[in-house]
Symmetry: C2
Subunit: 466 residues, 2 copies
């Protein structure tokens, strides 16, 4: 079925149906398409498709599907599971020229963005109209809306606003055969057959190409505060989380954890004075975003933090008193990813476990990893409110450690990929989290919507047809 | 492929794999399975499957799939699009014996319920643990969790809590071939391949059988209040909606509209004194559910209502001052469906239009329907906050009126089925709301997961294979 050399016929057709700037070949292909921030091997793409409209995406896909030309989808190339890395024989479909962003529509509190719009541009457009976009991740300046939808991006405020899936009021997508599915009306209630939009969210580009999205916005908060706390145990941290959930009336928007080596490491990396002294067992960053009643929300937050200290849930706490302090404390959390890139012999698991298992999981996994390498350093940071840890360790035994870690995650009812997806790099672990029946169902869906397997083939799972 | 007479072979196999009470045949089949509250024809089912466990569902489906025995799914049989009505040659798969409900798990604020549990039982279990379940519909005592998931039920609090889809933290489903997909862990973040759960929500039983669900709960409100208001225009009602959204800090939980004939009709039907005098252009019911700060929330609500009157958005308002008044005002809204069943020559459209089009749509549609029948009465009620109207009319020209209404809905960017689904009765209208490419994609998904077409065949769209 697959033509391994597309040859002149396909290129002739693409030249006919696309404007010149939408097709790059030969020396015109810059190295940017082969970039991988983890430095792994990327093959040279046969050509680059850069459509500027949904109609061009459709025409390009129909041409490639007719001859079985495999395509790898590229947005901002910030993915952490290698899905955008090019394999031998693939061409690139980049959404980089689809960067239009619409006005905020006040009646529905939504806006429409094309797939190539950076996440930060949506955040800024929302803020200009006194709204807030609910998803924030460290790569906001580069990651695109299309990529964030395709990986169902999460980040720091899932606790309050949900994953990227919860932000989608409508999608436009193009199937492998070029047919366009458009559901951008953004109705709150529309039970007319299957909600096809859901299929493409988190499918990592394997089922269709997201070209446009109608995104839900929230009212801009009238007050934001962040507190940094030291806590003695995981059980205490979870008691603090319950307290803040119960008292904040939904305003609690982030609940992050840093283990001591992560906290000390980031402090040293940034050369900043520590907000709280080093040496505590765990550090928590808790944020509220109040939608109304700023003063009351801040008073409630402060009273809850004081009660937490009285009850022994927290040992010490500081709270941001200005927008500058607020930004500085978040900058500390944001620097975690950059800091970990400076460390040798690092392995990283993006895992989640149920909160009810967290207090058991953390010490048990640390003990097991120390059995493999007694020198293991735990540079762990994460979204504790969601049960999601970025379980970064420094060890000479990376492969064995990850194998051990992920098995322990699953034994505690958790997931081997909380928010980064499976892509290429995590395929060996998919079977730990998903059953054979589930993977078979995924493969049936893939075959139904992309029978020739041209879209991000061999991402998430192996292609069936060979 | 399809065996039109399952004969003794299938019954022998079912008798072998199921306990006696899970299989009803002949005279043991009560009339309840053929009930349809709209009184339309239902064929006699060949037999009734009443599995008590997921394993029994799996065994029953595998047996039926092997010989192509078509099955119609039944929950509480309260669906309003006829999906549960039996067609010639079908047997029934009823989830009535799967009624187990688990404890509320405080750490995740979820519980697990089997498909046959009535919605009201989940609401009560949540309330006993000081939580709230976010979906409420009039048929709460009979409608089941499985049916509500399969139709993505909506109701009165979608404004705040979203459709049923938003309540799902995990699902267990059985495919036509008997394979079980289990994703009940309920992790907030789990990006390990496709989120298969989404497929079955709102698929009206055509893609698989929902057997269990992990449902999300919310903190029980610390205060609830409802206000009834008279408003002069739709534009004024929408200004009031925006005001309440902006001031309530997310506490606004319902925003219902009643047109004068609906308001007067329900008042008369219940024989109650009208909360506000008859004769206004529109009546609004607005509810807040505060998650914290009861007194402040109530004061904010009252201040917003007074400001709305000052600004001319509302003409008059009363507000519930006790739990008894709160219940009485909701009882008025709840009685709407019963009231409309007492009216002759009634036609009903469950439609939604974007809020930005509502002020134009309502008078234009009324004018168009009066052109068809000048005597048309408009007994309209609905969830204005979601753009969803139950567009009930009394006319001798029902068929022509519905045809006209639904075309006008689509011309205004709306949906021909906001929350009731397509089932059998609304199939003629599906093509108004969904494109040929979308319907083709639905059929491809159906064929991928149920290749013999045994599950609720010919619901939503026609089966491809004949």
């Amino acid at each position: 079925m697959t033509n391994t050399n597309p040859g002149q016929g396909l290129l002739d057709r693409l030249t006919r149906v696309l404007p010149q700037r939408a097709l790059l070949m030969g020396d015109a292909i810059g190295p940017v398409y082969q970039e991988d921030r983890r430095g792994r091997f990327s093959a040279k793409p046969r050509f680059i498709l850069r459509p500027g409209t949904t109609a061009e995406v459709s025409a390009a896909l129909a041409a490639c599907d007719a001859v079985g030309q495999r395509l790898v989808m590229q947005g901002g190339r910030t993915g952490l599971a290698g899905a955008h890395r090019i394999m031998e024989g693939e061409a690139v479909l980049s959404l980089e020229r689809m960067t239009a962003i619409g006005e905020v529509e006040p009646e529905s509190a939504t806006l429409i963005a094309e797939a190539g719009v950076p996440l930060q541009a949506v955040q800024m457009a929302a803020a200009r109209a006194n709204h807030l976009f609910g998803v924030d991740i460290g790569s906001r300046g580069t990651a695109t809306i299309g990529g964030a939808i395709s990986t169902n991006a999460g980040g720091i405020r899932v606790l309050r606003y949900g994953m990227f899936r919860a932000q989608i009021a409508g999608l436009e997508t193009v199937l492998a055969d070029g047919s366009v599915l458009s559901s951008l009306r953004g109705l709150d209630k529309d039970n007319t057959g299957y909600d096809l939009n859901q299929l493409f969210i988190g499918a990592e580009g394997t089922l269709g190409v997201v070209t446009r999205a109608r995104l839900r916005l929230h009212p801009a908060p009238v007050a934001e505060q962040i507190a940094v706390l030291s806590v003695p145990t995981i059980a205490a941290a979870l008691a603090l989380l319950r307290r803040l959930k119960q008292t904040s009336g939904g305003a609690l928007s982030a609940f992050e954890i840093m283990l001591p080596d992560a906290y000390a490491g980031v402090i040293g990396f940034l050369g900043m004075p520590p907000p709280l002294p080093l040496g505590a067992a765990f550090y928590i960053l808790a944020e509220i975003q109040a939608s109304s009643g700023a003063e009351a929300a801040e008073q409630t937050f402060q009273a809850a933090l004081m009660a937490a200290i009285t009850e022994g849930e927290a040992l010490d706490a500081i709270i941001s008193q200005s927008q500058r302090e607020f930004a500085a404390l978040w900058a500390m959390r944001d620097a975690f990813a950059d800091y970990t890139r400076t460390i040798d012999h690092v392995s990283s698991g993006d895992i989640s476990v149920p909160l009810s298992a967290m207090a058991a999981f953390l010490p048990q996994s640390q003990a097991a990893l120390r059995q493999i390498d007694p020198e293991t350093a735990f540079i762990i940071c994460g979204h504790l409110g969601d049960g999601n840890l970025h379980y970064v360790i420094q060890t000479q035994q990376g492969a064995a450690a990850m194998e051990c870690l992920l098995h322990m995650v699953v034994a505690h009812g958790g997931s081997v990929s909380a928010e980064h997806g499976i892509g290429v790099d995590k395929k060996p672990w998919l079977r730990l989290s998903r059953s054979a029946a589930e993977i078979a169902a995924m493969q049936r869906l893939k075959a139904a919507l992309d029978p020739r397997g041209i879209l991000n083939r061999d991402r998430i799972f192996d292609h069936l047809g060979r």
